[in-house]
Amino acid sequence: MSGISLLLSTAKDALLAQQMALDVVSHNVANVNTPDYSRQTPILQARPPVPYTGLILGGGVDITSIQRNADAFIENNLQQNQSDLSATSEMENYMGVLENLFNESSENGLSSQMADFWNAWNDLANNPSGDAERNALYERGALLSQGFSELSGNIDQLNKQLNLSLDSSVGQVNEMTARIADLNQQIATMSAIGDPNDLLDQRQHLINQLSEYLDISYYVNSDNTMTVTTGKGYVLVSRADSYSLSFDGNHVRWESSGSSTTDITDSITGGKMGGWLEMRDSIIPEYNDKLNQLSNSFIWEVNNIHAQGVGLETMTDVTGTYGASDATQNLWDQNSGLDFWNSIDSTGTFNIWVYDSSGNVAGGGPNTIDVDGAGGNTLSGIASAIDGIAGIHAEVTTDGKLRVYSDSDHSFAFSGDTSGVLAELGLNTFFTGSDASDMAMNANLDANRNLIAAAKVDATGEIASGDNTNAVDMAGLQYRDAPALGDTLDNYLASLEGSIGIKSQSITRTREYTETIVNKLKETKNNISAVSIDEEMTDLIKYQHAYAAAAKLISAADEMYQTILDSK
């Protein structure tokens, strides 16, 4: 082929090529705001030359392919950092919630309530028989125990929210992996024809979204399909197949092709799910445990002092607040089922004073119960030892609690408990419960505020109702170290709150750092892949002019034909 027909055919190819290039430009312009869209470039190439009368003439232009501008290395890097960022962002959010629960920046936090509680004991010590002081103290105690139990309930609620989030995100992950598997199949089919650029973009977009939920890794197979696994290698997508995750209310499970499932909870470290799991399984339990240790010590220390004292009146019928699951086990044995089994000193003793109807000590003196002595040791043993005292009786109730009650014309009081057994059994105590979740006031005190023990029975068994020695002891607890905490109760709370603040601060810093990296990588990725309108407009003009020039070639050919035809 030669001459005018060559000119025409070259011009026609050029027209088609420039038009196709304009199609690509318009596709780019249309997708300027599409997330994870990679700009496409038409690859123009000169056609193979044609030999003609000893010369080699060029054969015009052709579009050989449409190239997708993407950098797999940057994409992969971005995806991994995005995964970390999602994890720390979620942790940051939940730490913010946890901080607000403690709410110490205001003056209504737990530490203020504790201070009010100590002050109320001081006020009672200044006026031990005052009704107003007794009521105020009761209310302070009730507020404080509510403060603990509300905090515990709110932390519980936080865990429930985390589980709900985990549950719904597992569904989203499954949807995404199914769509990736779907795209894999389409990509494999279309790759036989050409580069399915837009499907690759869509798949990359899904990968990026998926990595916001959990840490994943992926690689592209020779047939252009992608294999996606969790960070620890459990396969989520393999060619056209996807493998689901499930959530059983506590664990994230991976469902393999068979019917078996594997618990992969601990292996998820990135993405929102990684962040939520870290909060739920590591950070929140750490602070919740500390809160429970604090309230456990608080209950024990207060009760142990309170049990030493006596109120404005003696008791006639009292039932302990802590039950034993097995009344035949030693009181210092875990198998007894008593909450404070390991807090007592089995070598200690305590006294019971019995009073006759005119308030005089009956039986000539205190009845001393030796906790590990004959007749002691177990709850049943203590009960029968007390039952043996004239004027009073004792029994183990059906729920394993110790009930002590007197004959109708007698009453009784406790003193000098060096063992802690009274506090262990909840006899003559202030609080009930054993941790933050179930801390509450002893119902006996609610019924009768006169039982708040500001006084102590003296060595002769006499009860001075205006005595304040036990209240003074209690007020001093504020400044004493709680043995189980190795610190005062107030200081322990302050350092617990400080450690939450430090954790929150360090998570925020990690988030800021990771966000900077992610932003830089995103910028790099976008500068490689995303559309620039200026650039497309330049290309538009470039291809438009080329198109016009090619059209000019056709009209030149037309004129040439005309010239030849006219010459006849």
Partner: protein, 301 residues
């Protein structure tokens, strides 16, 4: 370098969000007046603030305890100084009655005066502060002293029904101060020793016109007066101790409040100028972002 439109938008969004966050944080400091608004703003500072708050709260309470202690001491001091005056009067009476010129009638009349004084002193020994008996040991809601009388109504003795542990008030982290009194130690048991026995003996001596008895009463009353003086000066010493305690508490309160404020409160001037500079930065960012986003080749085609 190639810059995509997406990069421009992303950078603008990120930077605007950052400057806006800075502005909001600076504003929070000004509006709350506090430098620490949540645990993570300054965890170390917060722990110190919490501990200072706790110390301040307990110091305020100790301050209240100290003023309660002062009320008790004042009550005791007033009662004892009245008792002292009464004893002095009785001594004068005894000196007067010891004179041989006084007859049985005068002495009988004086006996009535002695009985009246006995009742007054018993009533002073039953002094209450805030409804609590201060000379009853820890049995602060039991009237400590009561007069025993024979069939014809003559006092035969005074019974103490308090106990021997003085009522104490907590005035320091570990310190307590005995502000009440073991009444028996101050006034005697009422039957074998002390002011009540002296007065009853004096009265009997007057009634029986017993010169030796009146002489004896003068000696006894001297001993009792010394006892009262020593008890009063004991209270005075405690009062001085309380003054020191109160001063220390006030000084500590001031310095703790100042330290807490330094840690917790915002320096308002600095905070406001911070808001201004953050606002300027934000406005500059907005202005320049608006310019950058507007420019496009399209405007020139």
């Amino acid at each position: 370098m190639r810059i995509s439109n997406q990069s421009t938008y992303d950078v603008v969004k990120y930077q605007l969000a950052n400057t806006a966050t800075d502005l909001i944080k600076a504003n929070e400091v000004v509006t709350s007046g506090k430098r620490i608004n949540k645990l993570s703003d300054d965890p170390i500072g917060l722990v110190q603030v919490l501990s200072l708050r706790e110390s301040l709260s307990s110091m305020n309470q100790l301050g209240r305890n100290v003023s309660t202690a002062r009320t008790w001491l004042d009550g005791g001091e007033t009662a004892l100084s009245s008792v002292k005056d009464l004893i002095t009067d009785m001594k004068t009476l005894a000196v007067q009655m010891a004179n041989g010129t006084e007859g049985a009638n005068e002495r009988a009349a004086a006996a009535d005066q002695v009985e009246g004084t006995l009742e007054q002193i018993v009533s002073l020994a039953n002094t209450q502060v805030n409804g609590q008996y201060i000379f009853a040991g820890t049995k602060t809601d039991t009237e400590p002293f009561s007069i025993d009388s024979d069939a014809s109504g003559n006092p035969t003795g005074v019974t103490y029904s308090g106990n021997d542990t003085p009522f104490s008030i907590k005035i320091g982290k570990t310190a307590t101060l005995e502000v009440g009194h073991d009444g028996e130690a101050v006034f005697g048991d009422g039957s074998t020793s002390g002011i009540f026995k002296s007065l009853i003996d004096f009265k009997t001596a007057l009634e029986t016109n017993d010169d030796a008895g009146i002489q004896q009463a003068m000696d006894d009353l001297d001993t009792d007066l010394n006892q009262m003086i020593s008890a009063t000066s004991d209270i005075g010493t405690k009062g001085v101790g309380l003054d020191v305690k109160e001063k220390i508490l006030q000084d500590l309160n001031l310095s703790y409040t100042e330290r807490k404020s330094n840690l917790e409160d915002a320096d308002i001037l600095a905070a406001i100028s911070d808001v201004n500079s953050k606002e300027t930065a934000y406005q500059a960012a907005l202005a320049s972002s608006a310019k950058v986003m507007q420019v496009s080749l399209l405007d020139y085609l």
